[in-house]
């Protein structure tokens, strides 16, 4: 009961506290970083400032973005915008990846923030991000696995191909498998040709075969296995797969 009373008192004190302390802490400049950090401003205005920061070439923006991302008192949408921007700002250091990973593992963090973090990790193209993406691919939520596989496709590391291929046998969700087929299409490597050919021949779901065919057709030249799978797909039960095998788009 005492704890409840203390909690209630802290809660009341917090809402009754005047904002004068906060006002003295606010940056005075009108730079995008200052607007983004100013929690008294409208969140739309802050998100717009964060969006502009994402387009900056230098890494100066990263510090402010990391501080917004790590702040648990921030609105989820503002945090997600900071996470998204971190994936786009040039020359961010390893602190950005650490901050993204820490927030991803935060208990109770909003799912859309986690999805955005995975997207950003892919865009960072930092191979160290693979650890977190592998961790995410083992989670129960199919949407988390979907975004992790998507990020693997953006990462630009050949290591991603073997991880995706290894994951496919255990993956029960057809949308995640279909996304894996799309992600493999980002890697014009022998291993991805083989894996996509296998999906196109054997997967029970048409949407997976469809995306395997679309990915194979992205490559300029194919190995024998992939060519044979595409030829066989000309007889697929799905008209969309047949069309995609011929090089058509949905």
């Amino acid at each position: 009961m005492k704890t409840m009373a203390l909690f209630f008192a802290a809660f009341l004190l917090a809402i009754l506290s005047p904002g004068i302390y906060a006002a003295s802490e606010q940056p005075q400049a009108d730079s995008d970083a200052a607007v983004a950090l100013d929690y008294k401003k409208d969140s739309g205005e802050r998100i717009q400032a964060i969006q502009r920061m994402a387009a900056q070439e230098e890494g100066d923006a990263a510090g402010a973005l990391i501080s917004i991302l790590l702040d648990k008192a921030e609105e989820q949408g503002v945090r997600a915008s900071a996470a998204r921007a971190l994936g786009e700002v040039r020359q961010v250091g390893s602190e950005a990846l650490k901050a993204l990973s820490d927030v991803f593992r935060e208990p109770g963090v909003e799912p859309n923030l986690r999805y955005t973090i995975l997207m950003s990790i892919g865009k960072l193209k930092d191979v160290s991000g693979i650890t977190l993406l592998k961790e995410a691919m083992a989670e129960g939520d199919p949407m988390i696995r979907f975004k992790a596989v998507q990020a693997m496709g953006d990462l630009g590391s050949a290591e991603a191909v073997s991880i995706i291929s290894g994951h496919l046998d255990a993956e029960k969700d057809k949308m995640v498998r279909a996304q894996a087929a799309r992600a493999l299409g980002s890697y014009d490597l022998e291993a991805s040709h083989l894996c996509l050919a296998r999906l196109l021949k054997n997967d029970s779901e048409a949407v997976v075969r469809l995306n395997a065919a679309l990915s194979l057709n992205r490559f300029s030249s194919l190995n024998a296995e992939a060519r044979s799978a595409l030829e066989a797909a000309g007889q697929d039960s799905s008209i969309m797969v047949r069309e995609a095998a011929k090089g058509g788009k949905p």
């Binding site: 506290s17 906060a22 997600a80 859309n112």
Partner: protein, 376 residues
């Protein structure tokens, strides 16, 4: 007793019906801006209030999103492209702002299995899920993600359908080759007091806008490449190529809590079982209005965010604990409600007075009971 059982059974049936996924995945949800008006809902395009609101800085617009099944939608909101429960599609804020019409549409040939086999619908869902996490186009310059992946609500829906091979905006952009298509229309604005707004819609690969000719155009409008334009979402184009979904209710919905999903009010959400419960709404409003904008409030939120998720997990596991926490939350919610209705300082005065009166009465009674019988 019997009547109560019957009433309870009916309530349960309605509750079950309300929770059942009523739409086919791929249905385009949309809701009105104000009243039952949505851009282009009739053959005459109308911008009854939106332009006026834009002049005064408050643009109320309709909204569109994609239903992906299992009670979930993907839509573009200010925070970005998000996946959330469909009860968040038309928010309390939208309803408070005057929106009251909601509909759901699908492509005209959606029931044709030859044209829309399951894998094509799967592909639609796949592309929609891929966009989750991207930016919202806050300036309406791009809308369909051209270039950098910024979407407006309707731009997202259009893009997803287009990538699945269906053009829901055949009159829209990308038509007419490089430079896009232009199209002049008159927008009737009943409340302007000025002449109608004559607008030229321009749809190109990089920009979609409507340039309006009007006496107020230099006061209003948004700056783009040195000129002033009125940007607006082109929701009406959805209308031309779609038909109502089978379960289109055309009635108001209850409205969710907000566009961002995830309340952050972990304990109340666990106790009430839903992030969009009205009690949680009261606390969320208090958090956003008072806690989030003060340093002390934010410090409280950080501590709360640290220890509340495991506590919420514990609460969610037991109905008995949920009930007990709901009782304990009554004074907190009552205080929050008072603050939201009467304002912070007025509430503080009322609460102080109430505590003062209660204190005086308490001490008077104690003093009276402490006095010897003879002195009374």
């Amino acid at each position: 007793m019997r009547k109560s059982v019957i009433a309870l059974s009916i309530a349960l049936i309605f509750a079950a019906a309300a929770n059942a996924p009523a739409y086919e995945r791929g249905a385009i949800f949309y809701h009105s801006s104000q009243g039952d008006l949505i851009y282009g809902r009739t053959s005459v395009l109308e911008l009854p209030c939106s332009v006026i609101k834009a002049v005064f800085g408050e643009l109320k617009s309709g909204h569109a999103g994609l239903y992906i099944g299992d009670g979930k939608i993907i839509h573009a909101v200010r925070a970005g492209v998000i996946e959330t429960t469909s009860e968040n599609f038309m928010t309390k804020e939208d309803i408070d702002g005057g929106a009251k019409f909601m509909g759901a549409k699908v492509p005209a040939d959606y029931a044709d299995k030859a044209k829309w086999p399951d894998e094509r619908k799967d592909q639609l869902m796949l592309i929609a899920k891929e966009q989750v996490g991207k930016w919202y186009d806050l300036t309406f310059h791009k809308q369909t993600g051209a270039g950098s992946g910024d979407f407006t609500c309707v731009g997202l829906v259009e893009y997803v359908y287009e990538m699945a091979g269906y053009d829901i905006t055949p009159q829209g952009y990308y038509q007419g080759g490089p430079g896009g298509k232009t199209d002049t229309q008159i927008y009737n604005c009943l409340e302007t007091g000025f002449s109608d707004w004559e607008g030229v819609n321009t749809f190109a690969e990089t920009v979609q806008f409507s340039k309006f000719s009007h006496p107020l155009e230099y006061l209003a409008g948004l700056e783009h490449e040195g000129s002033k334009y009125m940007f607006f979402p082109y929701t009406q184009y959805i209308q031309a190529t779609t038909v109502p979904a089978a379960d289109d209710p055309a009635t108001p919905v209850s409205g969710g809590s907000g566009s961002g999903g995830g309340s952050g009010c972990f304990i109340a959400t666990a106790a009430y079982g839903s992030a969009v419960d009205p009690h949680v709404d009261v606390l969320r409003a208090l958090r956003d209005r008072y806690l989030r904008v003060t340093s002390l409030g934010r410090a409280f939120m950080r501590v709360y965010a640290e220890w509340s998720p495991p506590v919420a997990g514990f609460i969610a596991e037991s109905e008995g604990v949920k009930r007990a926490v709901r009782i304990l939350l009554v004074p907190v919610i009552a205080a929050a409600y008072l603050v939201s209705m009467a304002g912070l300082w007025q509430s503080a005065v009322v609460v102080s007075l109430a505590i003062g009166v209660a204190g005086v009465l308490f001490f008077r009674r104690r003093r009276e009971s402490a006095l010897p019988q003879t002195a009374r």
